[in-house]
Subunit: 333 residues, 2 copies
């Protein structure tokens, strides 16, 4: 049926081993032989069967990528970062969305192991013992991308979420003395939990009581619509915050539009600060001041880290923290 290494060997009058060595760019092949083989390959239109290769070499040059949802703008950016570096290092990507469901995350993980991927990049919600067990059972490197694990042993690439929120609050407080409202993303996600905690700590430090604090927090489900709901919530308060700090950009757009729909002006009446710096941030009026979380870079660095691990390169630190920063636009004054 299809052309195999055997056919090439026959045509070039050499052994399969030699053909294999030519394909793999191995030395110890006489230039003249190499050329003979190359000619035969060309002539037959031979393309090595990656599955057979994978079986024989125990390397598939594919990596598994498990993310919550490709269709999420923010996450797709991560995927793209991974992909670009993977392509650069000649890896293929097997991609799956977990929809933040723990069982699905774990199932997908084992499925990818069956596929004999060389490594896995995982973005998920909270890392449980079950996750860790699965990761350990796998004899391949696993990188957590934009995902927090308490365990020191797991390789990961993140930003410092706690500090990011602290910085955002400091940024806000430099501009305005009023209250700050906070819209969380779902707290089944460790990094969202950390952001909330960071907010809580900061507010307590500036003397807010538990009761006051509670009013300043709106728990959302991370959608545009719940951003709108959040805005209604804050407008319903007796003491409205002067600034609303929001856990994601999409949510922030919802908040902004919710406020505008009620006739308020952003940032004059209420300022809004987002989180992520997705492309959405510039696609809204006023443009959104936001905390940059460089998802593309997180993906790229994760994949690069993975290639290092796969190729046995020295890795100084398995837990990478990428810088964040506040990007000031027009939704704050």
């Amino acid at each position: 049926m299809s052309v195999t290494i055997y056919d090439v060997a026959k045509k070039a009058n050499v052994s399969m081993a030699t053909v294999s060595r030519v394909i793999n760019g191995n030395t110890n092949v006489k230039p003249i032989t190499r050329q003979k083989v190359l000619d035969a390959i060309e002539e037959l239109g031979f393309r090595p069967n990656a599955v057979a290769r994978g079986l024989a070499s125990r390397k598939t040059t594919s990596v598994g990528v498990i993310i919550p949802d490709v269709a999420n703008l923010f996450i797709a950016d991560l995927a793209r970062g991974i992909e670009d570096i993977a392509t650069m290092y000649k890896y293929h990507i097997i991609l799956s969305s977990s929809d933040q469901q723990k069982t699905k995350e774990i199932d997908l993980f084992y499925n990818m192991l069956e596929k004999q991927v060389d490594g896995i990049i995982f973005m998920g919600t909270t890392i449980t013992d079950e996750h860790i067990e699965a990761f350990k059972k796998a004899n391949i490197p696993v990188i957590l991308a934009a995902t927090i694990a308490e365990s020191e042993e797991l390789a990961s690439v993140n930003i410092d979420y706690y500090q990011a929120i602290q910085d955002a609050i400091q940024f806000i407080e430099e501009k305005s003395k009023g209250d700050i409202g906070f819209v969380t993303s779902p707290l089944n996600n460790r990094s969202n939990e950390i952001r909330k905690q960071s907010f809580v700590d900061a507010m307590k430090k500036s003397g807010k009581s538990d009761a006051e604090l509670e009013k300043l927090i709106f728990n959302s489900d991370d959608t545009y619509d719940s951003g709108i709901q959040a805005s209604h919530y804050f407008l319903g308060l007796e003491e409205k915050p002067e600034t609303i700090l929001v856990s994601s950009d999409e949510l922030a757009l919802g908040v902004i539009h919710g406020l505008q729909d009620e006739g308020l002006k952003v940032p004059e009446d209420i300022a809004v600060v987002g989180f992520d710096n997705t492309r959405l941030a510039t696609m809204v009026r006023p443009t959104l001041t936001t905390v940059m979380q460089p998802m593309y870079d997180i993906g790229a660095v994760s994949m690069r880290l993975l290639t290092k691990l796969l190729q046995g390169e020295q890795v100084e630190e398995k837990q990478v923290t990428l810088p964040h920063r506040i990007i000031e636009r027009d939704s704050t004054k």
Copy 2:
């Protein structure tokens, strides 16, 4: 090292063939034997090696997906549709972005063949002879998703782009007698070309001269920023259009904001109609009237079609046209 089918066979006191038959849910296994094998599998924590399976069975249960760019909101939706159906039918997805570069598209295609994918879903720009040659050389089914090919032989899933624009124009003309401006997406993409042609035909039919027509068209590169440029362009015309019809939603947001930045009101001064109906359409003020192109569905239907082809199911029609429709929101009056 890892547990193989051989270990299971030994433990259960049966042959590898029997274990294989159990794994594959084959009949002709006595219940009692099946249970013995299942127990052994459980006990040893056996997981079949998909690579070995792939080699032996010549089926990998993975499909290749080639798309212009995962990080594009609109395209990621397609990917998600593909993925959901793939998961349902137990296929894995190998995903790659081509950045609309023809050589990359073709390289990726051949790479996926090397990986022995069972089928490929392809979204690209213009299908050239080179593409068709590659598709034919592959002995596996290929589905074009949201991608036009003139050839009748290729399986594909699309909407009727020509008609969609005709409908949009009719919709606009029912509301307003003024000129219609048109913002194209890059014309290296066949479907964009068709949309433009559709617009041109309609305008000619209503008596526009070539000179008039030319002024009404702005060629963009399909980004938010070029949407802004488009708005400036139209504002610079002596006779400004009353409505601007735009080839994508992201572009349309750019147009809307560009107009608003200049102090115009949408839709009072100028109405805007988008194309795609991405989530962006509701994430802007005014919300965007747009032509729905159901990318998720296109992905899902493509994948379903592929499974049919792979499983030898009867397929009535290899070229599927999905319905489109105009979704009226607030950017038109």
